[in-house]
Structure formats: structure tokens, C-alpha cells
């Protein structure tokens, strides 16, 4: 797709600005993990991993680290001072029980009601897998979705209703794409920010749900988010 757009780094950086210092944060696998790399070092964030870690730190130096100390994406990580280990059931208490302040998730589709579809497509024969997506989606205090605005084929991923199987209904608070930042409100989707050079009609054309626009839509400058 051509036209103005944010880079992945810009997108991750934009999400990171919405994570307050002191927050307990769970980053979904894939694109959301980039957010951890760009969070301001002035913030003290406690990262949670579903497999039983609070206070997850960055990857160890090559050849170092504990091979069993991994994140939800099965990559090696470290533990920061103040971190702790606990078992899976306790870890999911944290997720389902409303103790995680912010989660950033990838998605296949999000509806204007905040329905989230991020675990299965309509592909047949593909064996399904769900992991911790449903527990996290229903339990986190704030659910942020970071995804491309459309599929590679150009089909909209933000829809009036999801066509893929739901992960959870009415859970998404905010959506971040390479084109815009959108809030899910009671009155539907509200565009808060748009990439510089994109016009409203173009954004609406790439979206499968009716968009409202905030009174003061902010401009996102690529490379300067």
C-alpha cells in the first residue's frame, strides 16, 4: 500500500507514550513486543509474562542467560531487581483478575464495539491455538491493539463486526495502526490521531466501520512520533 504511513518503530513509540510509569504491562507476542524496546527509560514499567514472571527484563547477552527463563514468545529474557517468579495459575490470576494495567495485543480484526479477534482466522484445516489471549483480553484494565490498518491484500481489519472468531467481546480500548490512533467509545470509533498527509476520506475508505473524528485530531509525523 502506498501513501503516508508510520513505521513499526513509530507505531510502537506511539503506543509506549500511553503506558504510564509504574504500570504493570503485558505485551503480546509479535508486534507488541517492540513496544518494550522504545519505552522511555525514565519510566519504571513492570513487565508481566504469562508463564510466571513479573519484572521481565531484556534478552540476555548471546550465550548467557538461563535457557528456561523465556517469555510468552519463547524467547530468552532476564529478570530485573524486584522481579519474581510464580506458577501459571497465579500468573493467570493476575491476567484475568484485573491486575494488569495495560496489555498491548496484536489482532486480526477489531470491531467498532471493541470486539477482538486475534486467535483464529477463517482458514480451514489449520489447527487452532489460543494460548493466553482470551484470559488477557477479558482481564487487563486497558487493552490496546497494535496492528496494521488493513491486511496485506488491503482488506480492512477494523470492522463494524468481526468476521473471524472472537477472542472476547467489547474489550478493546484503543487501536494503533500505521495510519491512525482510534478510541473505541460507546458511540463507536473515534479517530484521535492521524498520520500526516492522510485525509479523512482515505482513512474511512480503508476502514470497515464508520469513523467519527475528534474535534482536535492530532497529526502523527513519521519519524517524529
Amino acid at each position: 500500500m502506498s501513501g503516508p504511513r508510520l513505521s513499526l518503530t513509530d507505531m510502537a513509540r506511539r503506543v509506549s507514550r500511553d503506558i504510564p510509569s509504574g504500570a504493570y504491562v503485558n505485551l503480546g507476542i509479535g508486534m507488541p513486543t517492540l513496544v518494550g524496546d522504545v519505552v522511555s527509560p525514565e519510566k519504571e514499567i513492570v513487565y508481566h509474562s504469562e508463564n510466571g514472571i513479573l519484572g521481565m527484563g531484556p534478552a540476555p547477552a548471546p550465550g548467557e542467560g538461563d535457557p528456561e527463563l523465556i517469555n510468552a514468545g519463547k524467547q530468552p529474557v532476564t529478570l530485573v531487581p524486584g522481579g519474581s517468579f510464580f506458577h501459571h495459575t497465579d500468573s493467570f490470576m493476575m491476567m484475568r483478575g484485573g491486575h494488569i494495567d495495560v496489555t498491548v495485543l496484536g489482532a486480526f480484526q477489531v470491531s467498532e464495539k471493541g470486539d477482538l479477534a486475534n486467535w483464529a482466522t477463517d482458514e480451514v484445516g489449520h489447527p487452532p491455538a489460543v494460548g493466553g489471549a482470551m484470559d488477557l483480553a477479558v482481564g487487563a484494565k486497558r487493552v490496546l491493539v497494535l496492528m496494521t490498518h488493513t491486511t496485506k491484500a488491503g482488506a480492512p481489519k477494523i470492522l463494524s463486526s468481526c468476521t473471524f472468531p472472537l477472542t472476547a467481546a467489547a474489550v478493546v480500548d484503543r487501536i494503533y495502526t500505521e495510519l491512525a490512533v482510534l478510541d473505541v467509545t460507546r458511540d463507536g470509533l473515534v479517530v484521535r490521531e492521524m498520520v500526516a498527509g492522510l485525509d479523512r476520506e482515505e482513512l474511512q475508505a480503508r476502514t470497515g466501520a464508520r469513523l467519527a473524528f475528534a474535534d482536535d485530531v492530532l497529526v502523527l509525523e513519521p519519524g517524529a512520533v
Binding site: 510509569s21 519504571e44 531487581p81 524486584g82 519474581s84 483478575g97 477479558v138
Partner: protein, 231 residues
């Protein structure tokens, strides 16, 4: 994720006084009080609530106090509207008995395991559970009973608190906690199930001093920690 050099914007759940620890507890609040018998009771925090003045409280606690201190003092001073409890009667539970017999105190009696499990369900984001405990008893009256695998079970609802007052042994500034022997009892569960979890500890330690394999309550469940050295 380093702390800022100027010490701002870092996570620091330590508060400097018991007054600060119990600030903003509202009249009508549901307050968890940790402890079993005289083990693990956050005596100083409960007395701070007494001084703070909140009333019309619903207390959730295993025992209903004895003598003139802590929970008994709240009962004596008529701060408690209702108590949710497994074993209110004990030697010395004079204020509980006085208020109960006078009809001034509502009592919800809950089997001890169910009491703990109901709080856990709230902390775990569950909508309730079926337990065989009490299913054959008067305590199941008015509740949904279901036969599961040939055995009677009673449906029990999650029990959420506005405030949890608990006692631990050590804490760091993130609110990570370790406890002391059997004083652990209800603390770890109560911490997960209240909107505001307040902890009195004997000792503060530096971040990183607690073994990450041995932390019993991760700081995510803790809001305020106050030091009470002699406790």
C-alpha cells in the same frame, strides 16, 4: 528499566505513617483483616482505622477479635455493621458476642475454606465456584446446590474487598512481600482481592534483596506498605 536519578516516577509503595497507610478508607467499606487467632493480625493498621474514623464497615476476617484490641476494638466502638467470618466465637470474643446478641451486628458465617476461596475467586477474576464444603449444611440454605459427580456442591460467589489490611515480614519498594511462619495465613489471598491492599511489615529491604523464587506476594497485589518495627 532503571529508576530516575532524581528518584521521581519510580514505583514506591512505602508510606511513612500508619495515618497515610489507612487514608481514604470510606464509611461503608468492605475491609479484609488478615490473621488467624493472634497470628498475623495487622494490629497497628486496625488501630489506625479506629483512629481514622471509618464506620458502617463490613469486616471480612476469620475470627471476630478477642479482648479489647484490633477487631474487638472496632466492634466495641460500633464501627462494624456486618462481619463475614468463619469462627467468630472464641475465648475472649466478648465484644463480638455483645454486639451480636444485641442485634447490632449482622453475621455471615462462611466455612473457612470457602471464605478463603471466595476471596481468591475475586482476586482471580472468576465468577464463582461450586464446593462440596457446607453443601449438606444449613449454610447452603438459599444458595444454588448442584450434584456434581454424585456429590452435592454449593455455589459460592466471589468476595471482593474495598480494602485489605494485612501483615507481612519484609517488603521492598515495589511491595513484594515475604511473611513469617504461620502468620502468612490469609494475607496472600486477601492481597489479591481488594481494591486497596495495605500491608504492615516489620522490615523494609532494598529492591532486589528478596529472592525472586521466594517472594510470596508479588508487588502487583500491593498498594501501600508501612513499617511497624515491633510487630
Amino acid at each position: 528499566m532503571p529508576a530516575r536519578a532524581d528518584g521521581e516516577h519510580v514505583i514506591d509503595k512505602r508510606v511513612g505513617s500508619l495515618v497515610d497507610a489507612v487514608a481514604d478508607i470510606r464509611d461503608g467499606a468492605t475491609v479484609f483483616v488478615g490473621g488467624f487467632g493472634n497470628s498475623g493480625i495487622p494490629v497497628e493498621l486496625v488501630h489506625a482505622v479506629l483512629d481514622q474514623g471509618a464506620r458502617d464497615l463490613t469486616l471480612v476476617t476469620n475470627n471476630a477479635g478477642s479482648g479489647e484490641t484490633d477487631v474487638a476494638a472496632l466492634l466495641r466502638e460500633r464501627r462494624v455493621r456486618k462481619i463475614i467470618c468463619s469462627y467468630p466465637r472464641s475465648s475472649g470474643s466478648i465484644w463480638f458476642e455483645e454486639r451480636y446478641r444485641a442485634g447490632e451486628l449482622e453475621l455471615e458465617l462462611v466455612p473457612q475454606g470457602t471464605l478463603s476461596e471466595r476471596m481468591r475467586a475475586a482476586g482471580a477474576g472468576l465468577g464463582g465456584f461450586f464446593t462440596p464444603a457446607g453443601a449438606d449444611s444449613l449454610l447452603a440454605e438459599g444458595k444454588e446446590v448442584r450434584i456434581i459427580n454424585g456429590r452435592r456442591h454449593v455455589f459460592e460467589e466471589p468476595l471482593h474487598g474495598d480494602v485489605a489490611l494485612i501483615k507481612a515480614r519484609k517488603a521492598d519498594r515495589w511491595g513484594n512481600l515475604v511473611y513469617s511462619t504461620a502468620a502468612r495465613n490469609f494475607g496472600p489471598t486477601m492481597a489479591t482481592a481488594a481494591t486497596l491492599t495495605v500491608v504492615q511489615v516489620r522490615e523494609f529491604v532494598e529492591l532486589g534483596d528478596l529472592d525472586p523464587e521466594c517472594i510470596v506476594t508479588p508487588g502487583i497485589f500491593v498498594d501501600r506498605v508501612v513499617q511497624v518495627e515491633a510487630s
